[in-house]
């Protein structure tokens, strides 16, 4: 009875398709109130006074004075308040919370904020404050540039991106006697739990967080739900009634986190025959008004900034700065798509400068097993950059199309990329995640804090357990993530769930199998009583990481990917339309091929949106297009056929060889599309490549201006 490697249908699939799955907005509690958030409307300044322009009868009103314990969203820096006290750092900061049993009455309540505005910092290049700076050094940069025949420089920019999970943020808080329970759409129940304990000053066991079926996350429900949950809990505790706080689309788009905008500069030294001798990279991310997860986003960005290439002399400098804009935060890829975009467009420009084919340039420099990365990490046998490159080039017929389409309105471009699976550096050791497996009369129940948000957690984890216990998949249950019932398995982020938590569950199942000693589960339970096995994460032997020097094994292992994008330019409208994407990934082992491919297909589409359509327009620090009418995500008609090939090169430490897959597909489409547009003769170095930007590229001939040839 094999489970792993089979495309078993997702466990909750039919319930979702029949409309039976219960999302947070589908739940109601007796006596429930609706909540609403009143926000600052200026990007920078001071709050002087609040005036309620409505009859407060029947309303519950909460401000910062109602916070029982600490008015900070506990995360990395504890700098962000749940409710503004005086200082205003961005235009969507929550000031006041209202609750009422009638939604229309609630909506019509008007509040006046008396503020003293001051001059905001909106340009990250003029920011005065950095949340984090990072430096990665390898070899000797001066020597590397001295060895080079050619030096190519370039600057690359990417914009904010909104997650657009189709289910907006939402929670319901239910008060108890000295306790609170929060049900919500979220990725990380224990992040919310930690934030609520700090906010409310309650003992941890009096705070319970339950994840409801979650309609998409993509990182957007990693840290932000702590804020929504805190607000709902404050209203619930003050009113003594359950409070539902569900954002509408406008509020969700305007107020919640976005992908960090980036400015990345490259200086690359290369010999005439195409060997890279030096890479100098400067990464700047706009973190917005509060720290959130920015230091870790910067870290992942910097660790992927070289692209998947070997080079002996590297310097990466990174900075994430504060501006008076709504905070940037986690978004699929977590900094890597931004830096990989820069690296991959730079690589095409280097190839262009040398007159070398882009695939050959990558073939020459791609990381191989045994190579050393910028941090000194030595790659294992599963380093598959060449394998994915060759497969994608062959499968897409890249060379023939490249030749045939030159000088036409069709373009083809490729990108080679990689993604570290799991938490960065010592992150997994610090998390010390736990997973449990409970023996049931007919099988077993998985107890983990990892959440299903569409990516297939329930199904793949059950497959790993079923395979190990030699039981049919139907006999494996997965408990709902509820902090009162499941251990903290770490957050559901960083492409870590299948690889890390799946690995813990495999160890649980192996021990359980040993204890059963050939008995059936029911016979064991009759003879020995209940059995639950728990495992805690331990670093694989021989891995080391130093946070202070950025030396060592940044990630346990890496997934590898290569995208080939084919585009068509409309010469009248300057619309760039993708016509086909060939996506090849190497992910160790596909526990469930259909679900893994679904991650690649969906991530590729999301990457195409970031590349071509999705642009957050800020005016005075506020999102001016906070609606789906003019913030455009790809529809069926904008999404081309995506041809997915999954290569398997098992990772020894992963369950059945599996590595992470969720985030990586986000990194490929941006640069592949930009390089396809470059093939059209347009020097596109920033995303999104909207018709307006194509027009700019077409009217300026910048090719080669930042290139210099060095005399030897």
């Amino acid at each position: 009875m094999r489970s792993v490697g089979r495309s078993v249908p997702r466990k909750e699939g039919l319930a979702k398709a029949q409309g039976r799955a219960r999302y947070v907005d589908d739940l109601r509690f007796p006596g429930m109130l609706y909540g609403r958030t009143i926000r600052t409307a200026i990007p920078c300044g001071e709050l002087l006074a609040v005036r309620l322009d409505f009859d407060p009868a029947g309303f519950t009103v909460v401000d910062h004075r109602d916070v029982p314990s600490r008015n900070v969203v506990a995360l990395i820096q504890d700098d962000q308040p749940f409710l503004v006290e005086r200082e205003i750092r961005h235009a969507e900061e929550p000031v006041l919370l209202l609750a009422h049993e009638d939604r229309d009455t609630l909506r019509s309540a008007s509040v006046h904020l008396d503020c003293r505005p001051s001059e905001p910092v909106l340009d990250p290049e003029r920011a005065r404050r950095a949340f984090k700076e990072i430096a990665i050094e390898k070899g000797n940069l001066a020597r590397g540039f001295a060895e080079a025949d050619v030096v190519v420089e370039g600057e690359y920019r990417t914009g904010r991106q909104e997650h657009v999970y189709i289910e907006p943020q939402g929670v319901i808080a239910v008060p108890g006697a000295g306790s609170v329970t929060v049900y919500g759409s979220l990725q990380c129940p224990y992040y919310v739990h930690k934030a609520l304990v700090a906010l409310l000053g309650l003992p941890p066991e009096q705070v319970r967080v339950v994840q409801t079926e979650t309609g998409g996350g993509f990182g957007g429900k990693e840290e932000y739900p702590s804020i929504v949950a805190g607000h709902a809990a404050l209203l619930a505790l003050k009113s003594g009634r359950p409070v539902k706080l569900v954002y509408d689309r406008l509020e969700d788009m305007a107020a919640t986190t976005k992908r960090h905008p980036s400015i990345v500069r490259h200086r690359t030294g290369v010999t005439r025959d195409g060997r890279i001798t030096a890479m100098e990279i400067d990464v700047l991310l706009d973190g917005g008004a509060y720290c959130t997860l920015s230091p870790v986003v910067l870290s992942r960005g910097c660790l992927h900034a070289t692209g998947p290439y070997r080079c002996d002399n590297v310097r990466v400098r990174g900075r994430v700065v504060m501006t008076n804009t709504p905070p940037s935060g986690a978004f699929r890829g977590f900094g890597a798509p931004q830096t990989v975009f820069a690296a991959e467009v730079q690589m095409d420009r280097v190839a262009e400068r040398l007159g070398v084919d882009p695939a050959a340039m990558r073939e020459r420099n791609a990381l191989r097993p045994g190579d050393t990365m910028a941090t000194g990490q030595r790659l294992g046998a599963d380093a598959s950059a060449l394998a994915v490159l060759r497969e994608a080039v062959g499968r897409s017929d890249f060379h023939r199309k490249r030749r045939a389409w030159t000088g036409t309105n069709r373009g083809i471009g490729l990108s080679l990329f990689f993604h570290g699976a799991g938490f960065t550096g010592s992150g997994e050791v610090t998390l010390a995640s736990r997973a449990s497996l409970e023996l049931l009369p007919r099988g077993a129940r998985v107890l983990v804090g990892s959440t299903e948000m569409g990516q297939g957690t329930r199904t793949t984890l059950a497959q790993i357990v079923a395979e190990t216990l030699s039981l049919p998949i139907e006999r494996i249950e997965v408990a709902d993530p509820d902090t009162a019932r499941v251990p903290d398995s770490g957050p559901t982020v960083a492409s870590r769930t299948c690889m890390v938590v799946g690995g813990l569950l495999k160890a649980c199942a192996e021990e359980m199998k040993g204890r059963l000693g050939g008995l059936s589960p029911s016979a064991y339970l009759r003879r020995h009583g209940p059995l639950t096995v728990t495992k805690r994460y331990e670093a694989p032997p021989g891995t080391a990481w130093d946070d202070s020097t950025y030396r060592g094994d940044a990630y346990g292992t890496y997934g590898w990917g290569c995208d080939v994008a084919e585009v068509e330019l409309d010469p009248v409208t300057y619309d760039v339309r993708p016509t086909r994407v060939t996506a090849v990934v190497e992910i160790g082992r596909a526990v469930n091929p259909l679900l893994a491919a679904g991650q690649v297909e969906g991530g590729t589409a999301q990457g195409l949106g970031w590349a071509l359509l999705e642009e957050v327009v800020l005016r005075e620090g506020r999102m001016a297009n906070a609606q789906l009418t003019n913030y455009m995500v790809p529809t069926t008609l904008d999404t081309p056929p995506i041809d997915v090939t999954i290569l398997e090169s098992p990772y020894r430490q992963g369950p059945f060889g599996a590595k992470g897959v969720g985030e990586m597909p986000m990194s490929g489409p941006g640069p592949a599309v930009a390089n396809a547009v470059r093939h059209l003769g347009l020097d596109a170095r920033s995303l999104p490549i909207t018709p307006e930007r194509v027009l700019e590229c077409a009217s300026s001939s910048t090719a080669g201006e930042e290139t210099s040839t060095r005399p030897r």
Binding site: R6, S7, P9, R10, G13, L14, A15, K16, A17, Q18, G19, R20, Y23, D25, D26, H163, V164, Y165, I166, E167, T214, G215, G216, D248, R249, R368, A381, D382, S384, L386, A387, E391, R395, M453, Q455, P593, L594, L595, A596, A597, G598, V600, E601, G602, G603, T604, A605, Q627, L628, V633, P634, T635, T636, T639, P641, I642, T645, I646, L647, E648
Partner: protein
């Protein structure tokens, strides 16, 4: 106000300008119809009125007086299972709306027809690949392949179009 809901006559007391979406979810208790945007862009709230798909967030209740409304709870057919089997549902929040919009498609539609019929339904998870596979047939769009990379990350030379090594069938 009287109307027909999923084949049964109903008389519901709700304000005539209340959104059909809210009447269905709150007054009728049918929460399979989802709200994604409230502005008619995402299609998560798609239902059928007299057989035609509409965004129920844009339709006032009065509009359906005496008419037949079908929601996901009243939908029958094989497409539901196909969407699950082909990976057309991930987070699932768009899926009821997708299936309702697809209900207007005739039998065996082409991929192009499916894409046009679903152009008003946003899905952020699947890239629409699994959805189109489910509705237009598995051959309508590229089918994902799985193959072994060679030892040390060096693959066996792949032959273009070779199906050999498409190791694991994607069927359950």
């Amino acid at each position: 106000m009287r109307f027909v809901l999923n084949g049964r006559r109903r008389d519901v007391d709700a304000a005539p300008l209340k959104r059909l979406l809210d009447v269905l979810r709150e007054d009728c208790g049918l929460t399979g119809t989802k709200e994604g945007c409230g502005e008619g862009e995402c299609g998560a709230c798609t239902v059928l009125v007299d057989g035609a798909p509409v965004n129920s967030c844009l339709v006032p209740f009065a509009h359906v007086r005496g008419r037949a409304v079908t929601t996901i709870e009243g939908l029958r057919g094989r497409r539901t299972g196909a969407v699950v089997r082909e990976g057309g549902t991930q987070c699932g929040i768009c899926t009821p709306g997708v299936l309702m919009a697809a209900a207007s498609l005739g039998p065996r539609p082409s991929a192009a027809r499916v894409r046009v019929a679903l152009a008003g339904n946003l899905c952020r998870c699947t890239g629409y690949a699994g959805i189109v596979r489910a509705l237009a047939g598995a051959r309508a769009v590229p089918r994902p392949r799985v193959r072994r990379a060679g030892p040390s990350g060096r693959e066996r030379t792949p032959r273009r179009g070779a199906r050999r090594g498409a190791a694991r069938p994607a069927k359950a």
